[in-house]
């Protein structure tokens, strides 16, 4: 196990590469999903404030 972690003496380089790479990609994914959700909620809430006639027009946009 410790042999695997040491990566032939290059453990620091290999694990930092994979660790930071995976962390950044997961962070970007989470941020993108939550941005999509909150933007959808906000659009929905704003639409509630508009009368029906206008709402149809906005949907076409």
């Amino acid at each position: 196990m410790s042999e695997f972690l040491s990566m032939g003496g290059y453990g620091l380089y290999v694990w930092t590469s994979w660790g930071v790479g995976i962390a950044l990609m997961i962070a970007l994914l989470i941020q993108s999903v939550s941005a999509a959700r909150s933007a959808a909620r906000e659009a929905e809430a704003t639409e509630q404030l508009s009368p029906r006639r206008r709402r149809r027009k906005a949907e076409v946009e």
Partner: protein, 247 residues
Amino acid sequence: MHRFANPTRFLRLAAAVLPFSAAVAALCLGAGLVWGLFFAPPDYQQGDTVRIMFIHVPSAMMAMGVYAGMAISSAIALIWRHAIADLIAKASAPIGATFTFICLLTGSLWGKPMWGTWWVWDARLTSMLIMLFIYLGYMALWQAFDDQTKAARAAAILALVGAINLPVIKFSVEWWNTLHQPASLITMEGPKIHESLLWPLLLMIVGFGAYYLTVLIFRVRAEIHQRRTRMLRMAQADRHNAMQAAD
């Protein structure tokens, strides 16, 4: 192409694609990780540092691929006033910037033990760093305008001008003397990488591509909803003003 300029239709198509792109991304990245870290043999010259390649090469390819996609979307947005193309370009930039950063970081982490230096100012590394700055500048330019139409146009022009950097990156290893090795995957004679390392690499490349598509769908969704909110608010403000004028 204009079929997909309709946001409702685009959202429907994206919702159909999303489960597949997410599944492919999860499976390929998961399998690539296990294969690349546990089963692939160490390289006879590079030892275990070759495992960094499984992240470095896909992120480099995607950094450039995303930029190419961003430039093409920008051209479509500029020429045909396509309603979704500018949002696809805008949504791509943070993903491309992340890939570029991962590429530079992992390259540096490989360079230290193998070249003996974290960084050299040679053509390949410098042109890649410039691409990171172009991505960041493109994102900043979108923020610099209140008028989204003007922002879209300015950003699209920047994306197109910055595309000059793509062939510079690609051919930098042939045009100039550099520490960076020449292409070994996409060559006229086929891949020059041993099969034991090639398969996990291909898995990671497909995984990175599917990951991009998945994240892109979420980001374009966010953009479409934000634009709808802006339009509704403008319509509400117009109505409010019209009512006040009538009084």
